[in-house]
């Protein structure tokens, strides 16, 4: 399905299979026709009988009229087969002649059939020329009649209408009926055969990219579909492995970076008080925040959402504000929390907490001391952090959501990851980050989630 619009939509497998099966049906039809024609050409006696019977049947159709006017109708003077001459004689029960037609010197001796049971066909040939004669018994209005026909002609030409008739009634008509049934059968068989494939595609499409542990149920009905399913599952397995490897890497990196950093911080703490020590402490704090943010970022990127998991926004926000309040006071800020009727959302509570924590830390970092940071949850599925700092210019609001972007690069704290972490976590939750300038002054950043109904509180 990777074709561009220029190359058009590719045909469906269903269409291609149906067309091919229909073509096969058509080939059967042609082969059957050829076989029938070949059979008759190879077996002229059969054709003789058919031609005599055809003439007799046609004459029989006009018997009632001949009984009335005693004359041969004009139309009956012409034989069926072009290029032949034909004479006939009709007897009734008891030997009486009903009608007679002679074509020039082609005459039939007036002699009733030797037995009234006789049905015969006889051929005399001289090179290409032939004389056919035969007797057929017919019933008209429940009276038996015997029609004796003599046909004189040459070559194969006179038999063409008979062959044509044969083909029409014995080949084309039944074959058309069969083909129609064959097509209907194809239609339903192809469709039911492809249905597991369709279901598999639907299942693959339904996979949530965030859920790497998802696997597709194998359809037992066909080995091909089962192979496709197991190939897709093997691919999911590889993706899951690499996601897990990424997560493990984040954890390993945490260990590797944090222990030396801890050693460094404890060592700095042992130094005698001096301006250098103070600077080192600031540097170590900055590095700690950087390491934490990088790990938050890699965890957020590798996070998997459990679709059944719900998060209570009010409880999360309350916890984050409680944890960050000492930091706020230490930096000379005041902080407030308000619950305006938040609802539960589908999501990872701790990840949402990380997002909010990064927003609050950002607000505490980028606004002057003495100002207030206000955290509000609700109404509805949203979290809101408002500060009284310089705000974020409108033309840079998309930029600040990217990694390693900072509004003020001279500002030493932070790596520019805070809002990127927020954005990654919100994207995973199907939510949005709205950056606005607050009424008055300062920035207001809102995290808006998809709603998932009321919280079940214990």
């Amino acid at each position: 399905m990777t074709h561009g619009p220029a190359s058009g939509t590719p045909r469906t497998l269903f269409f291609r299979l149906s067309v091919r099966l229909a073509l096969v049906g058509l080939v059967f039809l042609v082969v059957e026709l050829a076989a029938v024609v070949w059979m008759y050409v190879r077996n002229p006696n059969e054709l003789d009988q058919l031609l005599v019977t055809a003439e007799a049947d046609r004459i029989a159709g006009d018997i009632p009229q001949m009984l009335v006017d005693g004359a041969v109708p004009e139309a009956l003077r012409q034989p069926i087969a072009a290029g032949t001459r034909r004479a006939f004689l009709i007897h009734e029960l008891g030997g009486g002649v009903i009608a007679r037609f002679n074509d020039g010197d082609l005459k039939i001796a007036d002699e009733p059939p030797a037995s009234f049971l006789v049905i015969r066909t006889q051929r005399e040939s001289w090179g290409q020329r032939f004389l056919l004669s035969g007797t057929r018994r017919v019933a008209v209005e429940q009276h038996p009649f015997w029609i004796t026909v003599a046909i004189f002609g040459h070559g194969f030409q006179p038999f063409v209408p008979v062959i044509f008739n044969e083909i029409r009634f014995h080949v084309i008509f039944p074959l058309l009926l069969l083909s129609l049934m064959f097509l209907l059968f194809n239609f339903s068989v192809v469709r039911s055969t492809l249905r597991p494939l369709q279901r598999t595609i639907t299942a693959i499409n339904a996979i949530d990219p965030a859920q790497v542990e998802t696997r597709i149920e194998a359809e037992a009905s066909s080995r091909e579909v089962a192979a496709l399913v197991s190939a897709v599952n093997a691919m999911l397995e590889r993706i899951e492995r690499s996601v897990r490897a990424l997560k493990d890497f984040a954890g390993d990196a945490a260990h590797e970076l944090r222990t030396p950093l801890a050693v460094m911080m404890l060592s700095i703490g042992k130094l005698p008080d001096s301006p250098e020590k103070a600077k080192l402490e600031v540097d170590a704090q900055r590095m700690k925040r950087l390491v934490n943010q990088m790990l938050d970022m890699s965890h957020a990127t590798a996070l998997e959402l459990d679709p059944d998991r719900r998060a209570d926004l009010a409880a999360i926000a309350r916890e984050v504000v409680t944890e960050l309040t000492p930091l706020a006071f230490a930096r000379g800020h005041s902080i407030s929390f308000m619950d305006q009727g938040a609802v539960a959302v589908h999501g990872h509570g701790e990840a949402i907490g990380r997002a909010l924590r990064n927003l609050v830390e950002n607000a505490l970092t980028h606004t002057p001391a003495g100002t207030r940071v206000e955290v509000t949850v609700g109404p509805g599925p949203q979290l809101d952090v408002r500060d009284h700092g310089p705000g974020i210019p409108e033309d840079r609001r998309t930029e600040v959501l990217q990694r390693f972007r900072r509004l003020d690069r001279s500002q030493p704290e932070g790596a520019g990851l805070g809002l990127a972490i927020v954005f990654t976590i919100m994207t995973l939750h199907g939510g949005v980050v709205r950056i606005e300038n607050a009424h008055g002054a300062g920035a207001r950043i809102r995290l808006v989630f998809r709603e998932s109904g009321p919280v079940m509180r214990a």
Binding site: T259, A284, P326, A328, E350
Partner: protein, 235 residues
């Protein structure tokens, strides 16, 4: 106060030991969980300090084993991992608190003291913040060594805040402890007690600040050491 420290990085273990010994703790250091396990069976400790990432196993398993054996000694877990979901695992295993690397000495010392001060813990009955002291047995408040009179309700409030000094105590939990028995609590009762206590502490020149976190609760902190609080802010 004997502390068992299980930490495989010798330099880190040295720094922790020196720092805590300067605060009056006695430390036994172990470089592996198996060595620590033997000592847990033989000796009595007041506190376990366990690094989760040890070369011979996961510290979480150690914590679980200790708890399964019926040992209720406070456990402070030190971890370099705080990925989403790691935190719950640490505390569910039976640890009392956790500290994520990197941290500084005052934070570690404060966490250790807080654990030892818990009911049944071995640390004395006197809570300190700067020049403010609270004797939890005699229910006596001293500022710079001078006993001052504090009414019972303010006393209860002060004790709660001093036990969690440097952290926010929620309004709801303060109301629960202070008005457990009275049937009717006016919405502003707590605010009134807080502002009376705040005035009293200021009048007696206590070097502490009683902060209000609007919508959350209150926090008692040293007035001089706000910088310490910042460093100690847990992530």
């Amino acid at each position: 106060m004997r502390v068992l420290l299980a930490e495989d990085n010798p330099r880190f273990a040295n720094l922790i030991a020196e720092g805590l010994e300067a605060e009056g703790f006695v430390l036994d250091r172990f470089g592996s969980l198996s060595a620590a396990r033997e000592s847990v069976a033989l000796d009595r400790y007041d506190l376990f300090l366990i690094d989760l990432g040890m070369p011979d196993g996961d510290g979480i398993d150690f914590v679980r084993a200790v708890r399964r054996a019926g040992n209720t000694t406070p456990i402070l877990v030190i971890t370099a991992r705080n990925g989403l979901g790691d935190r719950v695992g640490g505390l569910d295993s039976g640890a009392d608190d956790y500290l994520v690397k990197p941290f500084d000495m005052p934070e570690l010392a404060a966490r250790c003291r807080a654990l030892l001060r818990r009911p049944g813990g071995c640390l004395g009955t006197t809570l300190n913040v700067e020049n403010l002291e609270f004797d939890t047995i005699a229910r006596e408040v001293r500022i710079s060594g001078w006993v001052i009179h504090v009414p019972p309700r303010e006393c209860d409030l002060l004790e709660r805040l001093m036990r969690r000094a440097g952290h926010v105590v929620s309004k709801a939990s303060l109301e629960d402890t202070m008005y457990a028995l009275s049937s009717e609590v006016s919405p502003n009762a707590l605010e009134a007690v807080v502002s009376r206590l705040r005035r009293r502490l200021a009048a007696e020149k206590a070097r502490v600040v009683l902060h209000t976190a609007h919508g959350i609760g209150y926090m008692l902190a040293s007035a001089a050491q706000t910088g310490q609080v910042e460093r100690g802010a847990p992530r």
